[in-house]
């Protein structure tokens, strides 16, 4: 219900989304020479997805797809070099001349990082899905849960000594 009651949150998250995406992309590409990398970029994306879910803008779906694609990319980068007789996970560095950016150096490590991004985003989505976040956001919190009989029973049970 956060989103329904608070247009400020909704609007703020909406406004932040493109910036966060841009930063995530930057972190991913910058990772090779400056702080950042696939894990950080994935978490950045994950964070914005969590925010959007809480704000009710999005539902945490397709966790399996993210993970599958990420896993396949990382896996291919890992075993790919074997086809050329190189050892497992051997890196290929490519240097391109891109019009605006000038000379760009990149490599298969970037692809590997992309796979990591996919997996991390998938993990975050899976977490949100596992917590049933959408339903929770839609329904809001119920007051006075602790007073219900079942919880008290559970609490009483909790008092048992360790076995």
């Amino acid at each position: 219900m956060i989103s329904r009651t608070s247009p400020i949150v909704s609007l703020a998250v909406r406004a932040v989304t493109p910036i966060a995406l841009l930063v995530a992309a930057y972190v991913l590409f910058a990772g090779h020479n400056q702080p950042g990398g696939g894990f950080a970029a994935g978490l950045m994306l994950g964070a914005i997805i969590v925010l959007r879910t809480v704000a009710g803008l999005q539902q945490p779906r397709h966790a399996t797809w993210w993970m599958a694609v990420g896993g396949v990319i990382a896996g291919l980068v890992a075993i790919g070099p074997l086809l050329w007789g190189e050892p497992l996970l051997d890196q290929v560095v490519v240097t391109w001349d891109v019009p605006v950016l000038g000379t760009v150096k990149s490599g298969s490590a970037l692809l590997f990082d992309l796979g990591v991004v996919g997996l991390v985003v998938g993990l975050v989505l899976a977490l949100l899905d596992g917590l049933d976040a959408t339903a929770l956001v839609d329904r809001g919190r119920r007051p006075a849960v602790a007073d219900s009989p079942v919880d008290r029973a559970a609490t009483a049970d909790d008092q048992g000594t360790p076995t």
Binding site: V27, G31, H32, N33, Q34, P35, G36, G37, G38, F39, A40, L43, G46, A47, V50, L51, T64, M67, G71, A74, A78, L82, P87, L88, L89, Q91, V93, K105, G107, A109, F112, G115, V116, L119, G122, L123, A126, L127, L128, D129, G130, L131, D132, A133, L136, G140, R141, V145, A146, S148, V150, D151, A154, T155, D157, D158, Q159, G160, T161, P162
Partner: protein, 779 residues
Amino acid sequence: MIWSLLALHVVVVVVISVIGARLGRNALWLAAVPMAVTAMWSATRLGSDDVVTAGFEWVPGLDLALEFRVDAMGSLLSVLVSGIGALVCVYAVGYFSAGAASMGRFAATLLAFSTAMVGLVWADSVWTVFIFWELTSITSFLLVGFKHADPVARIAARRALVITAGGGLSLLAGFVLFVDATGTSRLSEITPVTGSTATAAAILILLAAATKSAQFPFHVWLPGAMAAPTPVSAYLHSATMVKAGVILVAVVAPAFQDTEVWKPLGLSFGLATMLWGAVGALRHVDAKLILAWGTVSQLGLLIALLALGTPKATFAAISILVAHAVFKAALFMVVGEVDVRTGTRNINELSGLRRSMPITFVVAVISGASMAGIPPLLGFPTKEAAIEAALGLSGNEFLIVGGLIMFGSVLTVAYTTRLLIGMFAAGDPMTGREVASRRPAMSAPEVILAAGSVLGFIALGWVTGVVRPAAVTVSPDAEVYSLLRWPGLTEAFVTSMVIVSFGVLIGALLARRHVASGPVARGAANADWTIDGIGRLARQVAGRVQHGSLPLYLATTVTVVCVAAVPFVGEIDTDTLYWWDNRAEAVLVLMIVAVAVAATMVTSRLGAALVLGAVGFSIAGLFVARGAPDLVLTQLLVETVVVVGFVVGLGRLATKFPTPTRLWTAGRVVIAGAMAIAVAVALAGSAANPVGEAPVRELAVTAQTEGGGKNVVNVILTDTRALDTFGEIIVLMVVAVGILTLSTKRRRTRPETRTDTPAAGSGPASASARVAPVDEVAR
């Protein structure tokens, strides 16, 4: 060529798996193609001295590689494996009825098995041997359990898998010690070794061979495996898989012959198996089981001969291996044909098939006589070689080993005679059984194999020329021996004739005696009881250990870590300890301690989540102070996601923690304090003894030259130690799959049935372990 052949196998397996369902029985023809090609290629290399190798370095750093080396032995074995495989495919076309189901699956599995077997006989590195060894276990499990709707087949398949795969574990351990003892993983480079490591390796490898080659007391899986369709039995249990153990013993024999255990242990396995198998063959009435027990007996003889280790015995073993593959496959095919055409394999019910199945009869007599060692068939000179090897022994060895081998041979002749008389001789007419018409696809392979037994004797010089180089690879002194068509009235020949006469006499007498039914398979029952028992034990242990109480899990883990830190106490050097590098660290650490203590005191769940977040952010601050921007970035992001995640997830739980008991509170304080001390001790201990200088400079240089990046941390993650990262993301994947599975399961389970699932929670107060009941209320 090696690669192309293996690739051909794999491609055809895939093709059959995809389109096999549409092909029906014709899938078997397709499966026969790669086998026939391999058999022909190997046949051109028979008896030649040149060696073909192929290798593929997988992970050079770990010495992981696929290594193949086709020498005289490899060619001989792959001719048998692939040649008989192709014949079995043809035979299977006749064996199965036109509308038989799952023929694609059958053909694909059969070919996959054949691939594994070819890989095994060509393998040079012990690791390659191990891989293909396990592949044969798995594919044969699938083949034995082909009729998976039948519980008997399922149990037999499981028994076969557990015993042979258990042997596989022993093999892996044995190979590790083997490489340690011999200093090489190449089978072609081994040298004789002695010592305790070599002894242990010898025992483990012999055990593995014994499980695979059905040596007593591991033989129990083989008769059970007769639940498989007969083509499978003809292939796996005559020519190939059961020979894997024998082949293994042969190829590692040069290394272990000098160890003290090798010979006695191998001989005990072999001789016990030879006798017990022959006895089993004499007791059963199911023709297929008679052959199965006969195979057990023959495998025992082979292992005994190889363990004996004399050049003569080795030569005899390799020649019997060839002859046995030819005649035993034919005999299995005969029994399968009798089964298909009359509907029974019980020798009590069968009689007089000599008239109604003449071709089958001729094949059976030729192959049976070859098995009994009667001239003029291939089995005769090979058996002669074995008897000569036995006669060549002296002293007690001659009395015990030689005597038992001869006694075993008498029994072999006896069960062969009994089988042939039982099936084909005229007796009580078969009531109510029609003999169905002949199927050419079944007869053709039988006739070819029977002709093999005859032609092998006629062209004995050629056979010698093929077998001798193979025997020489095991025992170089074997090159002086030959298979003889007519040895003259030697001691061995006379002995052999006495053996045959006695055997025929006993067999004929036993065939007269009516046995109502075969013995109860007590060994198999015991094996199943053990396997079930292991399962029960595992469930009980898991039930105790995996009690489902999160606090107890945590307490256990933390306690173990505390104990692990004890050895570090002595390592601490107080001179290396100092307070801080800069004062900001002190402030941050105080902050961390304060919020961490606060986290234990907060009673509301949301408050606890936020305080934990504060701990995380303070630690990020500590990273800033130490100048580790990558860590800071990641730590901040992780904390953010975790805190927001907590806030989302807490909606499912009661707002306050349940009040713990005094005792449990005290327990938690103790555990937490111990953990704090343990971490401090471990850190101080490792600070006192740094393992060399940190290779920061080196890494910074290689990061740029090899990794092509300036961020050392990231280059380490994605290049230098990418394998570690790969492992970590696999862990992430597993975690995510676990979360998804749990959440999906929870949603599908109805609330009523759910009450019994968290029953394991008799543990102490816990927020997280109690999600389910509270969740129910939230709905």
